[in-house]
């Protein structure tokens, strides 16, 4: 379970302190997926960085299963907005980085790696360096790293943003498949309403600068077979769009 109580995050830039997140309260059940939607600059990435243990200076309580965030104790898979690949490691080494650091003794978690590479369409690219990959390919490498890690908490910052519509659907299904297998608690940031409806059991709408939660929606359509052709899907995404528009213009 993930619990966020009265979270406030401030940044300091140019000698000025300003709030990036204000009074965030959120609770996620174990194994739940949560999609976060919000305007650019509202603090979505900031929220994920707090949960990933990267930002340590904040006010409030942030806990995983009743424990404060401590990456060395927990198993967190984090995909930053810029994919977080190391330029001096090839695809194969980048994918293995997570398990290498987490498991210390190597090799036991490599089963599934070939399958994952196949699923994510990375076969044949194993020896390339990030500088030799397209943005979408880099993104899929980052996904492979996190999926291979089998984390307890998966944090994805716009994980499908660089993919074309077709590939995006494919990779979203790869994620859902992985999620169904291990039902890992997942928080993903997206700018895409349909994606939020497809992947989020909960949908959190952030607004404003500083970022505050304006709505938390329980997504009744999540997990419905062939959801994109469901008649409610279109309806709900229109409603959600409207809600967001009103919200952000306030």
């Amino acid at each position: 379970m993930i619990q966020i109580k009265n979270l406030n995050v401030n940044y300091e830039a140019g000698g000025e302190r300003y709030a990036a997140l204000k009074d965030i309260n959120l609770e996620l059940a174990a194994g739940e997926t949560c999609a976060i939607i919000g305007p650019s600059g509202c603090g979505k990435s900031t929220l994920l960085k707090v949960l990933a243990g990267i930002i340590k200076k904040y006010d409030g309580v942030v806990e995983i299963n009743g424990q404060p965030i401590t990456p060395s104790q927990q198993r967190i898979g984090f995909i930053p907005q810029n994919y977080g690949l190391l330029p001096w490691k090839n695809v194969w080494e980048n994918i293995r980085l997570g398990v290498k650091i987490k498991n210390k003794k190597n090799n036991d978690d490599l089963e599934g790696l070939d399958f994952l590479i196949q699923q994510l369409g990375l076969a044949g690219l194993e020896n390339r360096y990030p500088g030799e990959l397209s943005g979408g390919q880099q993104q899929r490498v980052a996904l492979a790293r996190s999926f291979l890690l089998k984390p307890d908490l998966l944090l994805m910052d716009e994980p499908f943003s660089a993919l074309d519509a077709m590939t995006r659907e494919e990779i979203q299904n790869v994620f859902l498949l992985a999620w169904r297998k291990s039902s890992v608690s997942t928080i993903l940031v997206t700018h895409n309403v349909e994606e939020a409806l497809y992947l989020g059991q909960k949908i959190v709408i952030l607004s404003g600068i500083p970022g505050t939660i304006s709505q938390v929606i329980d997504n009744s359509l999540f997990g419905v077979e062939d959801i994109r052709n469901h008649r409610d899907f279109f309806q709900l995404s229109l409603e959600l769009r409207k809600m967001i528009k009103e919200d952000w213009s306030r």
Binding site: I76, L86, I101, Y129
Partner: protein
């Protein structure tokens, strides 16, 4: 560039150089600029019997100096780049000593460490280590902070961060610093070898000069230059093998 084309590239450079030398020898027509072919013949004749031992001494001194500078300079540079406290404590010392011409310390070193191997190796060590420290430190400091995020969120310890990020990220700058320092180190080696030893390319060249044996002197110069060229090529090779990611 493929290895083969690089080989051609080297040969091309050497051919141009020898041609220029040849033209200079013909035009000047003086014993102090001998014909390169005669020098090469002489070199072939005396290489095994006379030069090899001196070459080994020079190579050993330079390798020992570089080795010491690397195993001390790299960790210090990495720590200064990553830990602010290390940087605050050591930067003033590094900056004050960096511009001192180390060769001026040679008399002191010889008094303290004797005329033998140690003072020569320490001299080379001193010349290279500061460049290495500064380059590695700056290399680490120029790593964008986002690069560390994936490791932080994995709960990586210091060893992980050094191994996965700091060392590979600063390696290109490290090699560049050694490459730059190597040229100075060879000149200094030459100078130190004119004192207190009867072995080394510096001694060999100066000795041939005293004996007015210009052919042997030139042979020595060619060998010393080749040592420099080989070390240079070695660094280039490491750069292409280990740092090829950065040319992508």
């Amino acid at each position: 560039m493929t290895e083969k084309r690089r080989g051609i590239w080297y040969i091309y450079g050497i051919l141009i150089f020898i041609t220029l030398w040849y033209i200079a020898a013909i035009l000047a027509d003086l014993p102090i600029i001998p014909n390169p072919w005669i020098v090469m013949m002489n070199l072939l004749n005396i290489f095994m019997s006379k030069i090899l031992i001196h070459g080994f001494y020079s190579l050993w001194r330079i390798m020992a100096g570089v080795f010491l500078a690397v195993i001390i300079g790299v960790p210090v540079g990495l720590c200064m780049g990553y830990f602010v406290k290390w940087d605050n404590a050591l930067s003033p010392i590094v900056y004050l000593t960096y511009p001192i011409p180390k060769i001026a310390l040679l008399p002191i070193l010889m008094l303290l460490l004797g005329l033998g191997e140690l003072s020569k190796i320490v001299m080379i060590f001193l010349i290279i280590i500061f460049q290495v420290i500064v380059a590695v430190r700056d290399g680490v400091k120029s790593i964008p902070k986002e690069t560390y995020y994936p490791l932080y969120s994995l709960g990586a310890n210091y060893i992980d961060i050094f191994r996965e990020i700091l060392i590979p990220a600063s390696f290109p700058q490290f090699l560049t610093s050694v490459r730059v320092a190597m040229a100075t180190a060879i000149s200094v080696l030459f100078f130190t070898e004119t004192f207190g030893t009867e072995y080394g390319m510096g001694y060999f060249i100066m000795d041939a000069w005293m004996r007015v044996n210009y052919l042997e002197m030139y042979s020595g110069i060619v060998v010393l230059s080749s040592i420099g060229l080989i070390l240079f090529g070695l660094i280039d090779y490491l750069d292409r093998r280990i740092c090829h990611w950065q040319y992508k």
